[in-house]
């Protein structure tokens, strides 16, 4: 039974690690499927993590914190959109600028307001989203072998945002592949000319896509600072935006594939902390850095077409210019 308990708590941690990646990857899919490269996931997450922590601390309400996160992330999306849709600027450069802006602003404002070198004050439990025990979790964990432990450790005991992440993935799939808006959005990323000739505004579709992306990235950021942790920490996203981007590519720009990729990357992160000083048979102790590098390595390998092939939306990165 001990072995199952350990395995299930590893899976539980996997889900918690995967949550911000899932939100951010869905954000990336919406944006990139509409033809807008989203390097700025990292910056949007970072800035919204900061906004969530500040507003939760000042108002005492995590709901307001989440609202602030969504708002600020969507504002950054609009900035990115203005540069890349309206001004037809370079989307990669614009996305990078958003990331630099978020790194600079969070530390500058946090340092000025709380003088803790960019940290925000620690949040009390009622100021954040805390774990929810599903009904009967403890009883089932104690009395029902294996399945009860699975229920207690894997399904139960997460905060509301974790469950929302899975809902977000399902809804993303439905919107993108089952709704009229989704069809138009995907068409905009492949053949914007066709969308335009059908009398639909390419710019408006793309703006809506990146606003959805902004709100999803806002959930990811809020999760980091007011759910998983209890304050904002400088550079706390630490590359998660890029891992999410990797998951988007790994999942071939599809919510289902990206969800699985996020769970895989989350599993690696959960494993990283558990593998310190653990001797494995045959290979010995694995360096923890290896676990943090694996998502990036397999993305490179996948992109290079050594295993399968990841093909991006056709019109990605190209500003749409109406033909005269």
């Amino acid at each position: 039974m001990e072995m199952f308990d350990q395995l299930f708590s590893l899976l539980g941690a996997t889900i918690r690690m995967a949550t911000p990646l899932i939100f951010a990857a869905m954000a990336g899919i919406f944006s990139e499927r509409s033809g807008i490269i989203d390097i700025s996931l990292e910056g949007k997450m970072l800035m919204s993590a900061f906004a969530a922590a500040v507003v939760s601390y000042e108002t005492g309400s995590p709901i307001f914190g989440l609202g602030a996160a969504l708002f600020i992330s969507m504002m950054l999306s609009l900035l990115h959109g203005y540069a890349s849709i309206t001004q037809k600027g370079n989307q990669t450069i614009s996305g990078l600028a958003v990331n630099f802006l978020a790194s600079g602003l969070t530390v500058t404002l946090g340092h000025a307001w709380y003088s803790q070198g960019g940290l925000t004050p620690a949040l009390k439990n009622e100021q954040r989203f805390t774990a929810i025990d599903l009904p009967g979790a403890e009883w089932m964990g104690e009395n029902i072998p294996v399945l009860g432990s699975f229920y207690e450790r894997v399904l139960s005991g997460h905060n509301i945002l974790v469950y929302l992440a899975f809902v977000a993935a399902a809804v993303s799939f439905w919107v993108l592949f089952r709704s009229r808006f989704g069809l138009r959005l995907r068409a905009t990323g492949e053949e914007p000319n066709a969308v335009d000739s059908a009398g639909i505004s390419v710019a408006w579709v793309r703006y809506r896509a990146i606003l959805i992306a902004g709100s999803l990235a806002g959930f990811a950021g809020a999760y980091l600072s007011i759910a998983q942790n209890a304050s904002f920490i400088r550079e706390m996203t630490s590359g998660r935006g890029y891992i999410a981007l990797a998951a988007v590519i790994f999942g071939k720009w599809h919510p289902r594939g990206a969800l699985l990729a996020c769970l895989l990357f989350g599993f690696l992160q959960a494993l990283e902390t558990r593998m310190q000083n653990v001797e494995l048979p045959l290979v010995g102790e694995l360096p923890t850095q290896l676990f943090s590098a694996i998502p990036y390595i397999i993305t490179v390998v996948l992109l290079a077409g050594f295993i399968g092939k990841a093909i991006a939306p056709k019109a990605i990165g190209r500003p749409y210019v109406k033909e005269r």
Partner: protein, 373 residues
């Protein structure tokens, strides 16, 4: 009447417009300073004094930071000329730091600085070139996008270097996250060690290497066959194919050069200035190269000036925290971000109307001249 092929004057394109874009970036950064309740004018005064004073090493440290940014700015620019966006400067610098560490740990008790310095330059360029050429190869031959690959390579470099530092290099006599100091005999001296007329600073002769490399890049891009091929691939890959240029090969070579340029930043930072390998030493300088290249319009002369400007901002930013403790030196990142916005993604916002205005004026003048003549 001849139709006038009007182009706005060069000084407008390369000087006036970047200057106005910078002013706009500074103006918006001032709002941030106002939000945190400080006086932006005072803050800029402190920064300028901090970056330009001669008695406390202000100007020297500005030049020291500028040295780093010249290398990373050139790296971005060379790739840009081939139509490639190399975001991997950060990782290329980081891995090049390993070359310094390996050479110094192996040889710093046997070789003096005269023999060591050339080896270090070659080593950093080589390691940087490898870390740049692999994404170049993957783009050219396997079709993966250079932007995504170089981002991934940054993080792979971080993991790899942290492993090397923590597991091996630090165990040869440093702290847990940095190496031991290199033997002073094997390291080029800093300016204040060469002549007491220089104030104490991290400035060292690597800046001469940076200027020499800038000149070499100018020759390479505008005066050699390879440079012509690079620019052709960048501006029109189809035409390059018909001109018999192997675009894939050029992409790999360009990325190797770009990586080598970035890697040489480690000569300044790891070899000369810090004299040891420190965890995460690039500290954003690789990314800063993007802002430098954009502002310098991918021309070595522009890059040297832009690097000086960003070097001054970095140095001014570190001084800021002593005079106005509530302003974090990271405010420089905000300025950097806005410069990238206004010179890169939102370039046309100012450029369009200003260039139009000059063009219209030129056309009006020539029409006037034609009417009179």
């Amino acid at each position: 009447m001849n139709p006038v092929m009007a182009e706005s004057p060069a000084w407008v394109r390369v000087a006036l417009i970047p200057f106005l874009q910078l002013v706009l970036a500074l103006a918006i950064s001032s709002l941030v300073v106002l939000i945190i309740g400080e006086d932006p004018i005072h803050a800029f005064q402190v920064m300028i004094r901090g970056a330009t004073n001669t008695d406390f090493g202000g100007i020297s440290n500005t030049l020291y930071y500028a040295t780093n940014f010249i290398f990373t700015g050139l790296a971005v620019a060379v790739a840009f000329h081939a139509g490639l966006f190399n975001i991997g400067g950060e990782g290329q610098v980081y891995v090049a730091g390993l070359a310094v560490a390996l050479l110094c740990l192996a040889l710093d008790s046997t070789l003096n600085a005269w023999f060591m310095a050339p080896l270090i330059i070659i080593g950093t360029a080589l390691f940087g070139a490898i870390w740049g050429a692999v994404p170049g190869y993957l783009q050219a031959r396997r079709g993966s996008h250079i932007v995504v690959t170089t981002i991934m390579f940054n993080y792979i470099a971080m993991a790899f270097m942290s492993y090397m530092l923590v597991e091996y290099i630090s165990k040869l006599g440093g702290n847990s996250t940095d190496s031991r100091y290199w033997n002073a005999e094997a390291v080029i001296p800093k300016m204040h060690e060469i002549s007491s007329s220089f104030p104490y600073s991290l400035l060292n002769p690597t800046i001469l290497l940076a200027l020499g490399v800038s000149a070499a890049v100018w020759v390479l891009i505008w005066r050699t066959r390879l440079g012509f091929a690079i620019r052709t691939v960048g501006s029109n890959p189809e035409a390059a194919k018909y001109a018999g240029i192997d675009a894939g090969r050029i992409i790999i070579i360009t990325m190797a050069i770009s990586g080598a340029l970035a890697g040489m930043m480690a000569v300044n930072e790891v070899y000369a200035a810090q004299s040891r390998l420190i965890l995460n030493f690039p500290n954003g300088a690789g990314f800063m190269g993007i802002a430098v290249a954009l502002m310098g319009r991918n021309h070595p002369v522009g890059i040297v000036f832009a690097a000086l400007l960003f070097g001054a901002m970095n140095q001014g930013g570190t001084e800021l925290q002593f005079e106005i403790p509530s302003i974090s030196p990271q405010v420089v990142l905000v300025i950097q971000a806005l410069v990238v916005f206004f010179t890169g993604a939102l370039d046309q916002l100012l450029r369009g109307p200003i260039e139009n205005w000059f063009q219209r004026r030129a056309i009006a003048r020539s029409q006037q001249a034609a009417a009179q003549g």
